[in-house]
């Protein structure tokens, strides 16, 4: 019999992402990174892309990182991670690296640093098969620079560069499916997580860490500032995203998908959209259209799971 017991005290007590960082009130990244780092543990090196996480956690002379951490540029989280991984491999082989055990390399980037400017570097690193974990901290726009749209911004959402107006609905394109793109590289582990399901998050990140080779974890991370959301609703909105099918939770192990959170009946999408003023301009008609798409995408996932590919 399979018994899954989850209790907060079963998580490691140690904190590797320290408090005192400069993230906004209610930032999904802070909540997520704390859990991600608990899963990664102390024997981890972080390669961080430029973005919200980097800027709020590393402003000299302060740092929130209790593990080795490096930032080089915006589009380089995966390629810098490649270099670190190769270096440790070579140095451990030659007996010249102080740490003798396996070291976890964690690349951290936002949705812009992943789905837009960093996509090529990520694809290269996945294809080359480096042993590392990549987390995409997806807050669905360039929040650090002031809420500009990315290819990960959902259809219809307002942002400063996808404004709504007489001739615009807001974001004109559907959210780029990064987990599917990464899975298409044939890597051993892909998963989606949100801070509303903390044990699921830690569980999947532990798996990501354990697999040999590249693992990609897509973190759905609400941004109260950019989504025009009450900062007390971060976790609640993340939960609604899962329960409405807007952001399904699943994992793809060696190409085989498993939907890890299956609401008995999907809630109406409007319940997820209403608290966010980035969707406030949408008509009932627009919401219907988006819900149709969300449901069809969700059904596709279930079908894939059932058919076993």
């Amino acid at each position: 019999m399979d018994i899954n017991v989850y209790a907060a005290r079963m998580l490691p007590q140690a904190e590797y992402f320290a408090p005192g960082h400069r993230a906004c009130l209610g930032c999904g990244h802070g909540i997520s990174l704390r859990l991600i780092m608990k899963a990664m543990g102390p024997r981890t090196i972080v390669s961080n892309a430029t973005g919200c996480v980097e800027i709020t956690s590393s402003t000299y002379p302060q740092t929130s990182w209790r593990v080795p951490w490096i930032h080089v540029a915006f589009e380089t989280a995966a390629s810098v991670a490649s270099g670190i991984e190769a270096a440790i491999k070579a140095l451990q082989r030659k007996g010249r690296y102080p740490e003798k055990e396996r070291v976890t390399i964690l690349a951290v980037a936002g949705d812009g640093g992943t789905a837009d400017i960093g996509m090529q570097g990520l694809s290269g690193a996945l294809e080359r098969g480096h042993d590392f974990v990549y987390v995409c901290m997806d807050n669905e726009a360039y929040m650090n620079t002031g809420i500009q749209r990315s290819s990960s911004t959902p259809y219809g959402a307002w942002s400063t560069t996808s404004p709504f107006g007489a001739k615009s609905i807001g974001q004109k394109t559907w959210k780029k499916n990064m987990p599917a793109i990464c899975a298409a590289h044939g890597i051993p582990y892909v998963a989606t997580v949100t801070p509303a399901y903390p044990f699921d998050m830690v569980d999947k990140l532990r798996k990501a860490k354990e697999v040999e080779g590249p693992a990609y974890v897509h973190v759905f991370s609400p941004c109260p500032t950019g989504w025009r959301l009450d900062p007390s609703m971060t976790v609640q909105i993340a939960r609604l995203a899962v329960q409405t099918g807007a952001f399904p939770l699943y994992e793809i192990v060696d190409g085989k998908i498993r939907v890890t959170e299956k609401p008995k009946k999907l809630l109406p999408l409007i319940e997820y959209m209403r608290p966010q003023r980035r969707y406030a301009h949408l008509t009932e008609e627009d919401v219907k259209k988006i819900q149709k798409r969300v449901r069809s995408e969700y059904r596709k996932l279930l079908k894939r799971e059932k058919e076993g590919y």
């Binding site: 102390p42 024997r43 981890t44 090196i45 390669s47 980097e54 800027i55 590393s58 402003t59 000299y60 002379p61 740092t63 990182w65 209790r66 593990v67 080795p68 951490w69 490096i70 930032h71 080089v72 540029a73 589009e75 380089t76 995966a78 390629s79 810098v80 991670a81 490649s82 270099g83 670190i84 991984e85 190769a86 270096a87 440790i88 491999k89 070579a90 140095l91 082989r93 030659k94 010249r96 690296y97 102080p98 740490e99 070291v103 090529q120 570097g121 694809s123 290269g124 690193a125 294809e127 080359r128």
Partner: protein
């Protein structure tokens, strides 16, 4: 024992990289650098070089991976040219302020457009202010030697700066030259294993590459500026040690018949061989012409140049790049700056030569020397002239 062999210069370079026992190579193929990465790939495949070769998907990732590898404490090598250097340029600037002692060989090639695979210095000049130590080498032998020299300088705890070895694309990379190879055993303790001062290591966490507020950014840049100037003393020290051990003596500025020269041709890189032949010829004809070859471009040897060039009447600076709408060639601008405000400066003429591999002949250097002497007689200083232009 050193071995004297005839060898393609790209292979002589790779041989030195192998002997340096590098840990990580990260590179992307681009003409005319390809023979270097091909040779290194083979060395790794054969087990002759125990390194991780990351065959990245772009030069941008090549330099980013080098940063990661170097930060983790690996001796790191890459090589590129032209468009590749431009693509990685963003990270080239970052590597220097992060004090990562990466060594990069640049097979100098012109920049598009129009597309050209042939050599000039426009690629490296676009990265002039990237904060790297920059050597310009002129022969297979100096290429081979400067790989060792570059690592020794870059990894010195008083320096810790990335270092670029510039060699002319095709005119140097693809020619076969006699080279005395330094074997690993002969290297001795000239190049000890890299001992990083700071390293990405879970046993001793460190935050590298943080965000800098205006309150400390200027200080970070000043620190970089100071260490770059200070590196000159260490470069000289390493050249001296190299000379003692291996019998080949290098200097930041090398001279040929400059002592009594009225006209001095100044050049950088491979074309100085042709310039030297031209000076020989002119000397035989009784013309007082000399040659200066600049081997170290960053930190710029302004004092050496003032000392060497001051006694001459006219200086003919040969540039292999143009600063469009600017004062001429970038090398000449630097030399003019070096003399500005000093009394007794010679007349400085600027010639653009050898763009995109266009051949430069002995007769061209003769023409340059003659033309420079004519320009002195003009009342107004002349702008730059392009040599060999078809009208």
């Amino acid at each position: 024992m050193t071995r004297r062999v005839g060898m393609e210069v790209s292979f002589a370079l790779s041989e030195a990289v192998k002997n340096c026992n590098v840990d990580v190579i990260s590179a992307y193929p681009i003409t005319p650098q390809t023979h270097i990465v091909e040779e290194l790939s083979q060395m790794v495949a054969d087990g002759d070089l125990d390194a991780e070769f990351i065959m990245v998907e772009s030069e941008h990732s090549a330099m980013a991976a080098c940063c990661g590898a170097s930060a983790a404490g690996a001796r790191t090598f890459t090589s590129t040219a032209s468009q590749g250097l431009q693509l990685m340029s963003e990270i080239v600037f970052i590597a220097s302020n992060m004090r990562l002692p990466i060594v990069m060989a640049v097979a100098n090639r012109s920049l598009s457009a129009p597309l050209s695979i042939w050599g000039d210095h426009s690629d490296v000049m676009a990265n002039r202010d990237s904060g790297w130590i920059m050597f310009f080498v002129e022969s297979g032998q100096s290429v081979h030697d400067h790989v060792y020299i570059a690592y020794r300088v870059a990894e010195d705890s008083r320096v810790l700066l990335p270092t670029m070895v510039n060699l002319d694309g095709f005119q140097l990379t693809h020619v076969i030259e006699p080279v005395e190879l330094i074997e690993k055993a002969d290297l001795g303790d000239f190049l000890p294993p890299y001992d990083p001062q700071i390293q990405l290591n879970p046993l001793k966490p460190v935050t590298m590459g943080p965000a800098g507020t205006p309150a400390m950014f200027t200080e970070a840049k000043k620190a970089q500026e100071v260490v770059t100037w200070n590196s000159r003393a260490i470069i000289d020290e390493v050249w001296e040690d190299f000379g003692k051990r291996f019998g080949r003596h290098y200097k930041a500025v090398e001279t040929f018949h400059t002592d009594d020269a009225e006209t001095i041709i100044v050049s950088m890189g491979g074309l100085s061989g042709t310039a030297r032949a031209a000076v020989d010829k002119m000397r035989k004809e009784g013309k007082k012409v000399g040659l200066v070859r600049i081997r170290l471009f960053r930190p710029f040897p302004a004092e050496d140049l003032r000392r060497i060039l001051s006694p001459a009447k006219v200086i003919a600076v040969c540039d292999r790049a143009i600063s469009y709408g600017g004062p001429g060639g970038p090398l000449c601008s630097e030399i003019k700056s070096a003399f500005f405000g000093y009394s007794g400066a010679p007349y400085i003429a600027n010639f653009i030569i050898g763009l995109a591999g266009r051949n430069v002949w002995v007769t061209d250097f003769e023409h340059i020397a003659d033309r420079a002497q004519q320009l002195v007689l003009q009342e107004e200083p002349a702008p730059y002239e392009i040599i060999g232009l078809r009208e």
